[in-house]
């Protein structure tokens, strides 16, 4: 492996950028392709597919054999609101392999006693998200019911292209939210990406059951990532 490739690959991984190490198995030469870099031809198609699926593998292209090792950032779940649902959702999401980040400016909610061993910040989402920006490998669940706290985070999530954006609240609450977001200048197309009411419709009642519904919907969005985008492009 080229030392430069290793440095570049590790740098991408530290910065949560998706990258592929592309190795020519014939002569051993390699290079790093960062998501968004243009790659022509059959190899380009394979690269695009590998970014979508996250699956590493061998590809034949232009009479050569290439190994594509895909490095996608680990999915991160950002919860806005240190509420009861978050208390149930945090351990479940952790078991499912997500990085966790909980943000709630209300210190009574965001206490380490309620959330042991979780990255928890008792500050306004806009301040935290400036330091720790959202990206396409983040899911955002807005769980406070409080527009002052949820709305800005939802806007940031839509702008960052988070693979999942969900908001707690009834249809009526959501209709008011849509009005506010439109007034704030967001397009309907963007707003329609919000899953609201949040979670799969499994009749969840308790905070723990709602957490299951939310986590299932997030996993569905993660695993169909790219596929929906492709459908969208075709439409």
């Amino acid at each position: 492996m080229d030392p430069y490739s290793l440095k570049k690959l590790n740098q991408c991984r530290r910065e949560r950028r998706a990258a592929i190490l592309l190795t020519d198995l014939g002569d051993g030469r390699d290079r790093v392709v960062v998501e968004g870099d243009p790659v022509a031809g059959r190899l380009g198609e394979a690269v695009a597919e590998a970014f979508r699926s996250g699956k590493s593998g061998t590809v034949e292209a232009d009479g050569r054999s290439f190994f594509l090792n895909v490095h996608l950032p680990p999915p991160r779940l950002v919860m806005i609101g240190a509420v009861h649902i978050s208390q149930a959702l945090a351990p479940m999401a952790r078991i499912a392999g997500f990085d966790l980040h909980i943000i709630d400016p209300r210190t009574a909610f965001a206490s380490p006693e309620r959330f042991p061993d979780v990255r928890l910040e008792a500050e306004w989402p806009e301040d935290v998200l400036k330091r720790s920006p959202l990206d396409a490998y983040c899911a955002l669940a807005a769980l406070t019911h409080d527009p002052k706290i949820d709305d800005l985070a939802l806007t940031a999530a839509l702008e960052a292209g988070c693979f999942y954006v969900g908001a707690l609240g009834s249809r009526k609450t959501h209709a008011k939210r849509v009005e506010r977001l439109v007034a704030a200048g967001l397009s309907m197309e963007a707003i329609e990406r919000i899953h609201a009411p949040i979670g799969l419709a499994i009749g969840a009642a308790s905070p723990a059951e709602i957490a299951v519904a939310v986590l299932a919907q997030i996993i569905e969005a993660l695993r169909s990532r790219g596929l929906t985008a492709r459908k969208g492009e075709a439409a």
């Binding site: 991984r13 190795t23 198995l25 590493s56 208390q87 945090a90 952790r94 061993d117």
Partner: protein, 112 residues
């Protein structure tokens, strides 16, 4: 909740390879490039090895690491990458024992 506290991340082989490189050590990188049947480590998994045979990461559940580490010292010496295959059909591999019954292909190359 503390009983499900995060399992500490296993040390990342590619980050370690970079550290070793900065320390001026000679390094080989082994990568699982193909698997058939039940393989313990997915395609893309890494094992990094230095010239003294020190290693981090894994390409199997511990069955073939010994053989890969031995091969890595030659790769470090001559600089030629090679493709290794382990599986139940292979006599050598049977000896090192992929007890899970799968087959794996491992690419071993020198760093630099």
């Amino acid at each position: 909740m503390s009983e499900v506290a995060q399992v500490p991340e296993p040390r990342d082989p590619l980050m370690i390879a970079e550290e070793w490189m900065k320390d001026g050590r000679n390094v080989a990188i082994a990568t699982v490039v193909e698997t058939w049947g039940s393989a313990p480590r997915p395609v893309g998994s890494h094992l990094v090895i230095d010239a003294d045979g020190l290693f981090e990461g894994s390409v199997s559940g511990g069955c073939v690491e010994g053989a890969v580490v031995a091969e890595a010292s030659e790769v470090i010496a001559d600089g030629n990458p090679r493709m290794l295959e382990f599986g139940v059909a292979d006599e050598t591999a049977w000896r090192v024992g992929l007890s899970c019954g799968g087959r794996i292909k491992v690419y071993v190359e020198r760093l630099g």
